[in-house]
Amino acid sequence: MTTTEAPVAGPGRRPTAPGRRRRRPRFNSAYLFIAPSVILIAVFIAEPIAQSGWMSLHNWTIGEATHKFVGFANYTALFHDSRFWNALRVTVAYTVVVSVGQVLLGLAVAARLRKTTWYSALLRSAYFFPYIASLVVVGIIWKFLLDPQVGLVNAWLGDIGISAPDWLQSTTLALPTVIVIGIWKNVGFAMIVLLASMQQVPAFLYEAATLDGANAWQRFRYVTLPALRPALLFTSVIATITGLQLFDLVFAMTSGGPIFHTESVVMYLYEQGFVNFQMGYASAIAWVLFLIILVISAVQLRVARYRDAD
């Protein structure tokens, strides 16, 4: 039943008399409540972003009294910097494989652990645990595990007669190894988001599909997957953004080596800014990365028809 209520004047609110001068709008104390957040965002996020944009237009070395304005020279130099392109290639390769891998694996695990039993609850915790662990801690632990001399992985492989390689020192294996660790680390996040979304799918849809003769795969394909679209979009966008910001894991595991084969854009930015003190150049790298993330996220949202999905 639909009912319509007549508007009722609230306490203290009086109708304006015709012809009477309008009262000045009263100051809303709500602004004061949001003021601390606005100030914090302005001081610690907005201003540094604007400042880095300004710095990227200068030859800005930490500590120097004056900073020469160079226009877009830092961006031009970046365009011709082979090490930047190498770092971008590494970052994109990591992001693509880890994003796709963690979403697909997360989907598979979520589908498998959908029913809540003590066993699935235990496994969910096991899959989710790496996600809440610090990236640096994860990196250091895996570095020890993969150590060719004292690591458990190579020792176990040796026990079963497999001559294991030097995972993190091989120019061909270092990046794939970091990628596998990245997927393992993040699959729990995708799993938990997709699992929560799966459990929101109404049971009657599956009953109807079953009555229509749909098999298990068809129920997954035509009922579950469409219902998961917003969650899939969310996990893939988050995975892409975090992948493009790759730093901690490679910093702890390889420091970008061997011979820059795992050096990410953010690692290169860190070295330029905080090792070589070239903040202008580092800011230019940050802005290029920011634009890349912006464009890729926008494309993802567009391709996934965000409005429909929402």
Binding site: S29, P36, E64, A65, S255
Partner: protein
């Protein structure tokens, strides 16, 4: 709800929110300079260092003694990881908000960044002879030279270390080798003999070499037989005949004879030696206690001598004064005392490091380990000394070069490419 109560509530809410916002602003805008201060005639100096390792108590003991003997000057040393020091110090010194004294990095080449930003005090007027002066003539000439730019002294050595050859006596005895190698030829022969394989896999390495995140060992291997990285005219010599021959020889020993693992960090190399998986390692005095506590039957010897004569790598941490410190005279007095004979003798005894002075080696002869490091002082060479872009040359050129040639890249071509990069960084004009 009664009307007056609503008014009071709104006022309370508005006042609270305003106070919170004001407090946040105040917190964001306030600052607390960490520089020196003077109260009741006593000058307090702050000192920031990166000595987070087991040698920290040695520095603290030295400062404690200075404070006890100088009641009018009190120094407080703060220790933070080197990476944190490197991030905080440039901006804090450039804005006059930093500590009075600091060791900016374990890399002596880092002083150029601070000289360029006009952040450090010229110590030239404090140099001289006598207890109240910094006696630069007593430092090894390579150290004084590294800390002197355009004729001005900008730093003193916070410590001075030389690299020696650590070896596992048990492994040597088991291999039938009577003593440590003294020549490059013996060094190579022993490294090969001490490398053992089991089931097609190396079970013991003759030598533990690191090439990244470490104090460099590879330059010693080049210097031994006359090679080098940069020549006297600031131009690269890493691709000359002697350098390429040395790099070829040692990269082949690593790749073909597997005398050392590839691509180790300094920490990896130390772990390999202390876990008894390597028979020799070139390292500094800071490593000795760790190896002994790991139960290694430890031997320490001078680095073997090659065709170019005795040579090893020296390492020194620069200690500098902030240019805008309000107490330059007291800070200079501290440096004069710190680098003086009494303090250096004491420091050497408690830390196991050789003294930063060459005129008191006899005073440390009672400790054979310290004496070994001190003995190498006269022929120790600093890595990339005097190069303003030393850090970049190391991380962008030298480390990648070693990593390439130990993975099979052509040595001459890689060295040629490295030389081109080095010349760009040093500003070498000659072709």
């Amino acid at each position: 709800m009664p009307f007056p109560y609503r008014i009071a509530q709104r006022r309370f809410v508005a006042a609270t929110a305003t106070t919170v916002a004001a407090a946040l602003l105040a917190a964001g805008c306030s600052s607390s300079p960490s520089g020196g201060s003077a109260s009741s005639g006593v000058v307090h100096l702050s000192m920031l260092t990166g000595f987070t390792g087991p040698d920290e108590p040695s520095y603290q003991a030295l400062i404690k003694e200075f404070n006890a003997t100088h009641p009018d000057i009190q120094v407080t040393m703060t220790v933070e990881p080197w990476a944190t020091v490197a991030q905080k110090l440039p901006a804090s010194w450039a804005t006059g908000q930093g500590p009075d004294l600091a060791t900016p990095s374990s890399d002596p080449g880092s002083i150029f960044n601070y000289i360029k930003t006009n952040s450090v005090l010229d110590l030239s007027s404090a140099a001289g002879t006598g207890a109240s002066k910094i006696d630069t003539a007593a430092f090894p000439s390579s150290v004084t030279s590294a800390f002197t730019v355009d004729g001005k002294l900008y730093a003193v050595p916070a410590n001075l270390a030389t690299l020696v050859l650590y070896y596992n006596k048990d492994m040597f005895a088991k291999a039938g080798i009577s003593g440590p190698p003294t020549t490059e030829a013996d060094f190579i022969a022993d490294a090969k003999k001490l490398t053992l394989t089991s089931g097609g896999k190396t079970s013991q390495y003759g030598l533990s070499l690191a090439d990244n995140q470490t104090i460099q060992m590879w330059p010693i291997l080049q210097w031994m037989s006359g090679g080098d990285i940069i020549g006297k005219n600031n131009c690269a010599v890493i691709n000359d005949q002697a350098s390429v021959a040395a790099l070829t020889q040692w990269s082949q020993l690593v790749m073909q004879n597997h005398v050392s693992p590839v691509g180790q960090t300094g920490a990896d190399a130390d772990t390999l030696f202390s876990s008894r998986k390597a028979a020799m390692e070139i390292n500094g005095p800071w490593a000795a206690d760790g190896y002994k506590s790991a139960g290694i039957n430890l031997g320490i010897a001078e680095v073997p001598v090659g065709s170019a004569g005795p040579v090893t790598l020296g390492s020194t941490v620069p200690l500098m004064i902030e240019k805008s410190t309000p107490h330059p005279a007291q800070a200079e007095e501290f440096l004069a005392w710190y680098t003086g004979k009494t303090a250096q003798e004491k420091f050497s005894q408690v830390s196991g490091f050789p003294p930063s002075r060459t005129d008191i080696t006899s005073a440390v002869s009672s400790n054979p380990v310290v004496a070994m490091f001190a003995k190498a002082l006269p022929y120790a060479r600093l890595y990339l000394a005097g190069q303003p872009n030393a850090t970049q040359i190391d991380t962008d050129v030298y480390v990648p070069l070693i990593q390439k040639i130990t993975r099979g890249a052509n040595v001459q071509a890689s060295a040629d490419s490295a030389a081109t990069q080095i010349n760009q960084l040093t500003g070498c004009k000659s072709s």
